[in-house]
Symmetry: C2
Subunit: 107 residues, 2 copies
DNA sequence: TGCGTAGTTGCGTCATTGTGCAAATGCTAG
DNA sequence: CTAGCATTTGCACAATGACGCAACTACGCA
């Protein structure tokens, strides 16, 4: 559930810029288009987009020689909400008092 | 809104382990307690916990010479849900067709 | 078949970051 | 004041990751 992979993918400023650009656009965009959003090399953009796709954040589709990327908004939003639910389930508002010994038995 | 800082903080396996342990415990825990959750040095745990607190993930409180950390579940869950909402607002299900030119005008 | 465009990959470099050990700090108790 | 425990900080080292450039592949078009 708490997978560092997704967060790792979202933890880079350049990737966040690309993701924001793509989200704002709201449609599948080619690599070259997206690259105009930030000042880094096209090859860097290509690598970042693939990484985001591998992490499940983006969806990639090829048409001829151009590759389109789009935000997988639905699944991503679902994962974030599930995470939020699980967090609140684990840590209720009426919290137990601080204790000593082991933090939790299982880890 | 889309701040890489939070994701960066959550993007490390050791930090996720600590966070999961702390969430499962459901109460404020001392640094020494939490350190039993994973195999790294105590100093490393201390650094990770501070980093998570700086990112707004954890809450720290000092009592005597022991420092207690607890998950800020409410604010964190809220931030995740807001992010999910924004994502779905930006990228509706009936997506526009792929186009050419600039991805989006503003970035 | 030859050329131009779109994107990817290899490689070297540099900055960041995770880690452990040892020393230092902060606080409590005797 | 001294001893001792909980945590933090300094330092060095190794691993990771972002970046740019250049070479390469893949595809469409004349």
């Amino acid at each position: 559930m708490l997978d560092p992979g997704l967060f790792k993918a979202l933890g880079d400023p350049t990737r966040i810029t690309l993701l924001a650009c793509l989200a704002k656009c709201g449609r599948p965009c080619a690599v070259g288009e997206i690259a105009q959003c930030c000042a880094v090399d096209l090859s860097v953009v290509s690598r970042h987009l693939r990484l985001l796709a591998d992490a499940g954040v983006l969806d990639s589709s090829k048409s001829g020689r151009t590759v389109f990327y789009a935000v997988r908004a639905g699944p991503l939003a679902g994962a974030l909400r599930r995470l939020a639910d699980e967090l609140e389930r684990c840590c209720p508002a009426d919290r137990r008092a601080p204790g000593s010994g082991r933090c939790c038995g299982s880890c």
